[in-house]
Symmetry: D3
Subunit: 177 residues, 6 copies
């Protein structure tokens, strides 16, 4: 492979400024980046409120805002496969060949290392605020979350009524019918 | 659609007097009712002790006891599909067309509303006693649960040795072999 | 089991007069009948044009036309499971207990017999015309198919534009894009 | 939706000049295009020799060659779901919202039309040569196929030894072990 | 890996003298052999009449007859995974590590070679008679098949009434109910 | 069935001295034993660190150490099927026929009893130390676990760097990317 291609996999629920920062930094080392959108079959749950298509759209527009050229990255939805031993092959099937893996997730790190991939741990960026869990928590509690995501992500979440969706599906069932 | 047809979806573990009351009330507004038996693939677990077939039988006999005409409703087992975004289509595939949805479950409400369905929240009926979870809890603890379910449900549970089934599968494993 | 309950499983694409005749005859031997709608996950294909919900509706209305009491039968969609050795258990999970199986399909006969069920082969009724395949063929070729199905089945197929659906999905792709 | 977004779905085994022509023409009507790569789970078979990742790579490079801006399209692998009635929802989950569908496949046309989508049939372009099936046939028979695909597709197929892969998996088994 | 371990994968419907011969010869090159029983989820069909458990039993007894020590081989049922690109990982998950692959199947050869395995093609042994397809054909047509399988295989097929099972499931449906 | 065959099902994460003891004792009652390796699709998780193939290897070598003849037992990986009502049929498909079930798991006991199997509860052996959960806990906490597993299990875990695998996949994610 003449060019150097990396992969970053995350659930991106939602994409936030931390993701964008890691993506920008990665281009100092690589020519092309695959952005794998994990658990792509999930949506409408507390941990996974947004569909894969909504996450694809948010990322595309955020990367465009950042002037990252559309020819330099791949946005690939990756469904869960519930069988860790074949997960790396599953990712390889969906993506162009890559030679470096960026992940802060210990399981993903281990699985790629067992298949002899070069794994790099991205730096922590404002860990206190820049995590999907924190942002969803703030959405649910009417705290300020808007500043931690790119403008285009904010715009899409508003357009799809995303905060209300999250609140509704997180509310208690009135009865167990 | 000339006639008005509603749908009520629940796991019915087991069907209880609250379900029957909601079903009876629904016929004041609609001509036909689809009763979707959720998580139909599940059985023999603490939250889902009864098979779909057992739940179908309990409901059929309970509705017959209540003199609800067999031509006015549909009993449809609905397996989980683990992908919220296609769940409404999955239900539509299994059921005749319907124009009103009854559900106390916020996720179900949201999913149908996003597909432009008319969703109604059924009234709470003796919430303290009439929930599947409470009834299963009472079964496990030898409390009086029998009065909260229709006679035919009681009869079927006795016939299939249902309380012992629930107790056995809820007991601790003697060892993790 | 005090009562005698039978099961008839077929894809019912669409339900036709032969099905209705077998159903009516079965009630001479049994008290209740389970009608299993096979391959319920399939629709919009040449062999399986109609959804499970459409087939449920067609059957319900046809049985009502025939004055078969709604309390005496169960209409159960049965998805394929692609593993013959567990198929009988899969059917048992979805249906109330039964003690006689009606089927003209040699595989279904064999699978139930290996689990010690009493299997009966229904009589052939106008084999030349009364088969789903023949009726779909006639639909595709603008031949008279209407007389071989119950009135309510005809009505539903017309309402959902069923013949055009079948023709469209059976047409050749203009190109392999 | 302010912008006009279309979707084109195909198996792209491999992408060829016909695909590229349809894609270029579509931009006369729309602002953005989703290119859905169908049967993405398939590879290493006679009808589906290439992995989703290989097809993604071929298309990205071919679109880049054609100077189609990377910000104007989405390349989305779409796995089969084997249940026609939920297939449109499955596509909707994976893709940003779209308002026009391009397809020459009658089943895809029908499924989208039943969900009230605007469906357009792309023009036939050199039907005799520009189909995936023909190109694979030519590969197998050492005929000239190279002129019918973009240069970057040719380059990728050569790099992955694609023609030999197709020939090997299409050869007869020496014995049925 | 100190020891040399091979793998042979086949559907073994049923195991025959050709399989046994290949297995015996393989021990001239290797210390241990994994025998993968392919399509293990299949049974009761014309191409796959026997369950995985029946095939395990037939092979165990046949290997015992041949005095092949039970400590030197592994009998592993391998279900299909319908995704060629992850199939090798799927096999690796189910089996102890191996360093040589025996297969006459071009697809299996290709998939393992792409993962850098050493693949060997076993010699053809009486190709005319020693194939599963031929043996099943002879069973169906009351020809002599018994001499082409090990005694213990014959014994098990007789015990489970295997020939009648094959004949019944291969007979024509009397009608398409 | 002339011979008496039993089945023992466990996840064996990892196999330990308790398993070996139960296996040895079982041969006082039976001629052959099927050892079903449960949740065979799982690996690389805290509760299921080892692949099915690794567990097969550990057991084979441990049984060999114990001089248990290789012809007297079957090692069968059993994937989960997530549908309790068909689970017994699923096991029956994968295994030779058996007439006694050994299990300390109340759900497994119940499922087999409902299908009229003879179920026996194996004796508890040093319950405090001999459970998979305890052994994994000790691995994580650098306590002495080595004495509770057979030598060959220890050897395999060391060879595959098993303790580090368990520690890595159990560590906290540095961020929720």
């Amino acid at each position: 492979m003449g060019i150097k291609r990396g992969i970053l996999i995350g659930r991106m629920q939602p994409p936030h400024n931390g993701h964008l920062e890691i993506i920008k930094q990665s281009f100092e080392d690589i020519d092309e980046l695959i952005i794998g959108i994990g658990s792509s079959q999930m949506s409408h749950s507390q941990s996974n409120p947004f569909t894969a298509g909504e996450r694809v759209l948010m990322l595309k527009k955020a990367l465009s805002e950042q002037k990252i050229p559309g020819d330099s990255y791949y946005l690939i939805p990756i469904p869960d496969i519930m069988k860790n031993s074949v997960w790396v092959s599953h990712v390889e099937n969906l993506c162009p060949k890559f030679n470096v893996v960026y992940s802060g997730n210990p399981l993903i790190q281990r699985l790629f290392k067992e298949k002899n991939y070069n794994v790099e741990i991205p730096p922590l960026i404002d860990r206190k605020n820049l995590s999907g869990r924190d942002i969803r928590f703030k959405m649910l509690n009417n705290e300020n979350w808007e500043e931690f995501v790119p403008k285009s992500v904010l715009k899409t979440i508003n357009k799809i009524d995303g905060v209300n969706r999250l609140k509704e599906i997180s509310s208690k069932e009135i009865n167990e019918i």
